[in-house]
Amino acid sequence: MPVESATRAVRTGLVAFAFLAYLIFIGVPGKIGGSALPVLALISALFIWLALRRESAALSGTAVDPGPGAYQKKPGWEIGPRDTSDASPFVDHLPFSVVTGFVLKGVLAGCTTGLLIAVLSGVSATAMGNGVSIQPVFDKIVPVNVAALIGVSPGQIAQAEVPLLRFVLQVLFFAGAGLLAALVAAAARSSQSQAEQLARLTTRLSGPTTVNVARYAGVALPFLLLAYIAWLGLPGVSVFGSNEGTIRLLITLIATGSGLFALRLSLPGRERTVVGVLLGLGVLAMPFILDQFQNSVMGLVFIFVMMGLGLNIVVGYAGLLDLGYVAFFAIGAYTYAFLSAPFSSPYVSSLLLLLGVAPESPLLGYWMALPVAMLTAAAGGILLGIPVLRMRGDYLAIVTLGFGEIIRLFMLNLGELTNGPRGILEISQPALFGLSPSSVTFGLLSSQGWIFLLALVSSALVAFVAIRLNDSRLGRAWFAMQEDEDVAEATGVHLVRTKLLAFAIGATFAGMAGQLYAARQINIFPENFSLFVSIDALALIIVGGIGSPAGIVLGALALKGLPEVLRGVDEYRIVTFAALLVIMMIVRPAGILPSARRRIQINDPNEMGPDSKIVSDGEAEVVQTAGVAKNAANGQEEAM
């Protein structure tokens, strides 16, 4: 038994080391600088704590709650037994030996990690110090990263002047982290039942009041934040000097996101309507109070909200995994570019000359081009949809991915039509009745603010249409098709029509988004439409919650907005998202703000009363989130 737990501790240390080594190799310590060692030690402490927590739960016969989204709780997705409710309660006080065991294990794990890290940095430093150039790779890692890890300057390494004490310090640091993790784990375990009792007592004594106060605080938070943003925009107010712009952007993102949670916190009925309307007004005011940069980021976020909503129809509602979604985005953008940019491309110009139109003036304005872009994208959706009608699941994903690449290759190589990599320049801006928007709003609205406002309104519109459709017989047909295609067809769902409608509507939304994107960018190039647009759109609906419009907004805020705030670590963006995709699939496949349908399966079946309250209010709050449908909630409730 001791040997076994020792190996387990060493293994934990190894896993932590593997992760830390990865961080070192991608250059994280160099970014953090002087405090790299404590940060890495804390990360390893986190690993050790997680492992010990699981172990302690196993000891007392309680499985750690895998979180609301884990598979164990989903009826129908698993084969094995899933009931873990017969857990015995935690013990009140731990015998001394158990705590000692915990500490030993934690320190052992920490020492393992620390030793390995010390060896890694020691080997690198020695090699550097001896002037050995192992590989360009290691040359890149060693000077900055290892220096940050050992806590010396790169010069000292180059001179081979690193004292041995530095490496001992590393081991001590990680051992300390292990000790800390062990103590925390042991403490949490012994006090579990007391904490539980205390929590129960507080809720019994002051239950409704506390909950209500917390709820009001939650609902009020976004408004406070909105007010703060507005205040920050006043002349003469600045925070942290030059970083003010980024700070305000961050608060804007948080305010919008917490607004979604506030809606969920508010009670259905009048309260929710009021909160929704106020929040909607607050968000609508944002384009007027933010500056050009903040507006351009928020505009991009909401363009991606439109994309996400469209892709959600295809993936979330109809269950067709489309990885070539960027194609429709590109079609929308290029259609608008052809229609509105002067001398957009040789082919279009000669065509216009042939028709007797001057190629230097835009053919159609933004509003006239909108239906054209939408229709072109929809046609693209149908054209792509027809050949893949019979494909299922993963085949569909790969083929649509291929389509996306084909479109990109065509954009690059059809120089006569698309100008190839040189792109299309000077795309005209959307105007209001022939006037520039700033003249209408007396200069309150910057050009990017106008784009942001348009993106807001369009995504609200798109969300409205998506939610209404999903709530109709079409939405039911989509969902039925997703559940069982053959049975859906035998029940009377016209598969071809239903699938093509999903593709076409999804593509239309992407076309709208693409047009707005082209207007935002002014100049567009094929590399704006790489596979990563598809991946971003997919990632944001998955992280936010498939099938849930509120989740999509949240996902877009997190995935497209946050990286702009954290400019310094932008290079880690894709890696983080990619890891997030995998982790979300394992830990919480339903997303952060799951849709009502997905939440049903998470809830205990016994909680589902015959009146299906959860369904109706879940759907209703989703409707409200868009800030459009006021009577939708009532319609929902009487309908269910």
Partner: protein
Amino acid sequence: MTALLSVQRVTKVFGGLTAVDGVDLDIEERSITSLIGPNGAGKTTLFNCLTGLHRPEVGEILFSGSSLIGLRPDEITDRGVARTYQNIRLFGRMTALENVLVGQHLRLEASHWSAVLRTARQQSEERAARELARDLLDFVGLSGREGVVSTNLPYGDQRLLEVARALGSRPRLLLLDEPAAGMNPSETDRMMDLVHRLRDEKGITVFLIEHDMKVVMSISESVAVLDYGEKIAEGTPEEVRANARVVEAYLGPEVEVQEATESASH
């Protein structure tokens, strides 16, 4: 009186295996007919041919006078043929009510535009659909269960829900694939009662596959027997029970051989 459903020389071949071999069958309007036969006799394949999942190589299927051959499953459902499945195939993550609403898909006509705009007509149609769905759930005995996600329903209730979903398309002919399989005696009684009420109250013709001979003999007006894809007998329950070939097919001298070939063909 012409038959509601007329199956003529229907043959379906999978690779080298003839699953259904020249079957002729007539089903009268408002009758209850059973299809029986040993495992692997081709009963479900025949159902699949009737509902358009398979296209028979040879033969004709006439439903109230017009051919069903070559129609898509949803078109056949539109003509008035609905079915349930041997291994229950509900839309698992939908509630009971939603399952029945999908069943009504074909009978709802409001355009998708009207769904976006929530026109009065679309709203009243939706209300009526929900009303009907609730009625159908009541009819099969699932009142008060409409909000339950279908995978959370007990097994017997899932079978009833499949019937309710099939009724959503307002069929004239209902195909039930082993409706009483895996049910306990009281659930079986409920199902038999339901089959009777389907015919008596709703005027629906019922054609069912069943293994439970007690059920078959007590509810059906006529029985057809398939063995190795061929129809070997047809008639009233009494006639079929007395038929020597049927007895042989079920108990026959070569029980073991037959089982062996069956498992080989799987």
